[in-house]
Amino acid sequence: MKTSLKLGLSAIAMMAAGAVSAAEMGATDEPIKLALNEWTGQHVTTHVAGEMLKAAGYKVEYVTAGMMNQFQAIADGDIHATLEIWSSNVSDEYAKKIEEGTVVEIGDLGLDAKEGIAYPAHVADLCPGLPAWEALKACAINFATAETIPNGRLVDYPADWGTPGADRMTGLALPFKAVPAGSEGALIAELRASTEKKSPLLITFWQPHWAMSAYDVKFVELPAGEDACFSDPAWGPNPDAINDCDFSPSRIFKAGWSGLADKWPAAAEILEGYQLSVEAQQPMMGAVDVDGQAVETVVAEWMAANEASWKPVVEAATK
């Protein structure tokens, strides 16, 4: 009875997943190497995927790798997949490797991310009118520092992630100067110091991120980021410039070694079908970063409690 129910479920899952058929397992005696990058959310994402592969009967090895530097390793087949790439923060090398055909994209992760211009909640008192972006015009001087005078200071992403914050300020003609942060740690330190000192701070930030709740970070409301905004100057509040709107929604996706599907066909299908939502990832991140639990424990608990959300993907590929 139980088995037939299971079969029925997996049949439904199969249909839902676009009728993927079961695939060959491939080289199950060789470990599949998954990249662990520098941030906790990615660790959660990767461990869930790894556990799914293990449930399917594969060996999995986690390899620490710098986000920016991992693509050469993936192209060489030293690492076989990386599971949380942010379109807003991907090196040119990725595009090169995709073009070479040595790295292939394996679909969206389903993580619904948002990037934007943000501030810790107490800053609303220092700049009345927030979260509406127009408020920033008048109170820019409150955000001024020695380096940006007479403009306000916007702490932007590290230089190697691009300059989205600076683009917004130019687009919306706001009197802010963007200062690149240098690293993620520097961004967090800014948030933390601002919260502790109750000092003004405008920062480029994103969610899901544990700091969003830890420092009660709010986004500034900007005009919606439609395609026209990035190509047509006439669009939006500033008739003379593009980028006078919010960030375009960032895509979060997975990528793997080009030989992945040949060597481990079923694993490739599992990783392709793998989805993780913000609602699932965010509490796990909190359990790791705020409560100090180990990623392995947190993920194991989640896997046990949420079989329905991952098992069908595994079974569709293997049975």
């Binding site: 693509f71 060489d76 005078i149 740690g185």
Partner: protein
């Protein structure tokens, strides 16, 4: 009136500076090097080096495959040996090297690593050091012997060693990654490259210092050249070579952490990066302290190799090891479960936060004052930095005229009193302060540096400076190079003054040295990243934080060498001064200070190199300039930009090094050393 070389050089610089100031409004190309005059060096390098790398890739991959064996082996052995045995083995080694003192150092040091909760990661770091250091030592030995045996190569070898030490590691990580593939082997090779030069230099120095009669004896006893070298000269140079071993170990350890940026090996450096990324200062500091402890243990133990030592009974070493083995059977606690210091880390973390919260206003005012009255004028000049918001009034063009007039008057006064050089220096400083380093016209910088080069080392140095600076101009990195020059220049200046004073204090007072010495040790061994943490928390992103981080690291050699120079004045000189009736202060000024000058200049030289090394790391807290370019290139895997920016950085460091060494050499000759 005859002019000294220094005065002539300063005069030339002043003339070019004035010409630039006057002509700049008419010729825009005098101020900024036109973009049309640059070459796409980055693209050339990317494609050129890319092709070369492609050629060597198979060989490198083979080497990488080979190196993975000792790497995995060392990692496996250290990872699977029970921790009581590892600790006991360290203590036993300590006993053999230096008796109870070293044994206890090993015991307490490794026990700290154990209770920190980072045992597994630390053992991986140690494995990396164990494999990379022998590699570095072999490389260093080979280079040193080659330079000694074939004097023709010596110049080239020295230049190569300089390049190995001054090109920032971040700049060559990307090509290494491409060549050797992903994984710990890249970190291993990067640290071996960085750790080999001190070994090579000390081998060469040691061989050069082997006494003549020892050498003669070896020749007379009729051995081949190889036998002479291996059996007589290298053993005779043993102590100096051991100094090299010690320095190699320290260099490798510091580099292992930097190489963690690319990952591939879950080591202690990766742990420091992870915790820093979350701005967990307490934890990052704890992980950083583990490295400091390693550094201290390795440093002190290997330093005993370089000195004459007593014989310590091997039996006691075996007994210590046996105790460890027994403990390993009895105590079976997983080191991952031991994290006794997490509470301490939390306390550090919250107290840093509380301090920032309580003193936010004071910290901000320190930062603002330093920026308004120090760093900003230095970077963009008084004409742009003086604003109603900063100084309370707006700078007018007429002020510039008054400012220059005052400088000229002061300079004239000095010249009239026969201090021509001082007067010219005042003029130069006034000009730089009014314009700002980042806005200096390139002909002035080029001619100015060459003129100083001429005063310091004559025409060969002028040629070197002109060619190297010309390369930066042509590559289009000039503006970023000036920004780097400004930040490291400001830091070096501050270090020279503060460090010089501290060194002086340490020379006159024993208590001062007791306080300063452990601080110097700590600042030199802590991984560079960890400096950024408190600085970042107190002063946030920006140039002031970067400036402080650079100062913290670069001040140490200045203190050490100043003290060393002042305290090693030969006794007979001091006696002679005393007997001719000089008091302490006069002895200091007239005898000790001139005698210490070469040593102090050497300290300044080291401070400059340290400042440039830290500049790249400081890019993590948002500086602009070459450091940022190098970091950006690492992120984007842009081989061309990484190499050219790294080369520009090395060029600046090399020029500063040569200039200071030229002056030091002159002082040494004047003193007859």
């Amino acid at each position: 009136m005859t002019l000294t070389r220094g005065t002539k050089a300063a005069l030339i610089a002043v003339i070019v500076g004035v010409m630039c100031l006057v002509l700049q409004p008419y010729f825009a190309w005098l101020g900024k090097w036109p973009a049309a005059w640059t070459f796409p060096v980055n693209e050339w390098l990317s494609s050129g080096v890319g092709a070369i790398l492609d050629l060597f890739k198979p060989v490198a991959r083979g080497l990488s495959w080979l190196l993975a064996f000792p790497m995995d082996g060392a990692s496996w052995v250290l990872g699977n040996t029970p921790w009581p045995i590892v600790i006991a083995a360290t203590a036993a080694l300590g006993w053999r090297l230096g008796g109870w003192k070293m044994a206890l150092l090993g015991l307490f040091g490794l026990s700290f690593v154990l209770i920190s909760g980072y045992w597994a990661q630390s053992m991986r770091t140690l494995a990396l050091v164990f494999v990379s250091v022998p590699l570095a030592l072999l490389m260093g030995l080979a280079i040193g012997v080659l330079a000694f045996e074939v004097p023709r190569f010596r110049g080239a070898v020295n230049a190569t060693l300089d390049v190995m030490q001054t090109v920032p590691t971040f700049a060559y990580l990307t090509p290494l990654l491409f060549l050797f593939g992903f994984g710990p082997v890249v970190g291993l090779i990067a640290s071996a490259i960085y750790a080999a030069p001190p070994m090579a230099r000390n081998v060469l120095l040691g061989l050069e210092r082997v006494e003549h009669d020892i050498r003669e004896a070896a020749i007379m006893s009729g051995g081949t050249r190889r036998q002479q070298l291996l059996l007589v000269e290298i053993p005779a140079a043993g102590n100096q070579i051991m100094v090299g071993v010690n320095q190699s170990l320290m260099a490798a350890l510091s580099m292992v952490i930097i190489a963690a940026v690319i990952g591939g090996f879950d080591d202690i450096g990766w742990e420091v990066l992870l915790t820093m990324r979350k701005a967990w200062f307490g934890q990052a500091f704890l992980a950083g302290s583990v490295i400091v402890v390693f550094a201290i243990v390795i440093d002190r133990m290997s330093a005993t190799l370089a000195t004459q030592r007593q014989h310590y009974d091997a039996k006691i070493g075996w007994i210590i090891l046996a105790i460890g083995a027994i403990l390993a059977f009895v105590v079976r606690i997983d080191p991952a479960e031991i994290a006794l210091l997490d509470g301490v880390a939390d306390v550090v973390d919250t107290s840093v936060g509380a301090f920032t919260a309580a003193n936010g206003a004071a910290l901000d005012s320190v930062k603002n004052n330093a920026m308004f009255y120090g760093l900003l004028p230095l970077r963009i000049g008084l004409d742009q930095a003086v604003l109603p918001f900063t100084w309370g009034f707006q700078w007018q063009p007429s002020y510039s005229l008054w400012f220059f007039a005052a400088a000229v008057a002061l300079a004239g006064l000095c010249a009239a009193r026969g201090r021509m050089l001082t007067g010219l220096t005042i003029l130069l400083c006034a000009g730089i302060l009014e314009t700002g380093i980042a806005d200096l016209p390139w002909p002035f910088v080029l001619v100015g540096v060459c003129a100083v080069g001429w005063a310091s080392g004559g025409w060969p140095l002028v040629r070197l400076c002109a060619i190297l600076l010309g390369l930066i101009l042509l590559s289009g990195l000039w503006e970023r190079a000036l920004l780097s020059l400004y930040l490291s220049g400001a830091a070096v200046f501050a270090c020279a003054i503060v460090g010089g004073l501290l060194g002086f204090w340490a020379a006159v007072s024993k208590t001062a040295w007791v306080i300063l010495r452990p601080m110097c040790d700590l600042l030199q061994t802590i991984p560079l990243f960890v400096f950024l943490i408190p600085v970042l928390m107190f002063f946030q992103i920006g140039e002031f934080s970067a400036f402080l981080a650079i100062c913290l690291y670069a001040i140490v050699p200045m203190i050490r060498y100043t003290r060393h120079g002042l305290t090693t004045t030969p006794d007979d000189l001091i006696e002679a001064a005393k007997s001719s009736g000089a008091n302490t202060w006069q002895t200091m000024r007239e005898v000790r200070a001139p005698y210490a000058a070469p040593s102090i200049l050497l300290g300044l030289n080291q401070t400059i190199l340290y400042a440039f090394a830290m500049l790249v790391i400081a890019a993590l807290i948002g500086t602009t300039g070459l450091g940022q370019s190098i970091y950006l290139a690492l992120g984007q895997a842009d081989i061309g930009l990484g190499l050219s920016a790294g080369a520009a950085m090395a060029i600046l460091a090399l020029i500063a090094d040569r200039l200071v060494q030229g002056f030091a050499e002159e002082r040494r000759k004047a003193l007859g050393l």
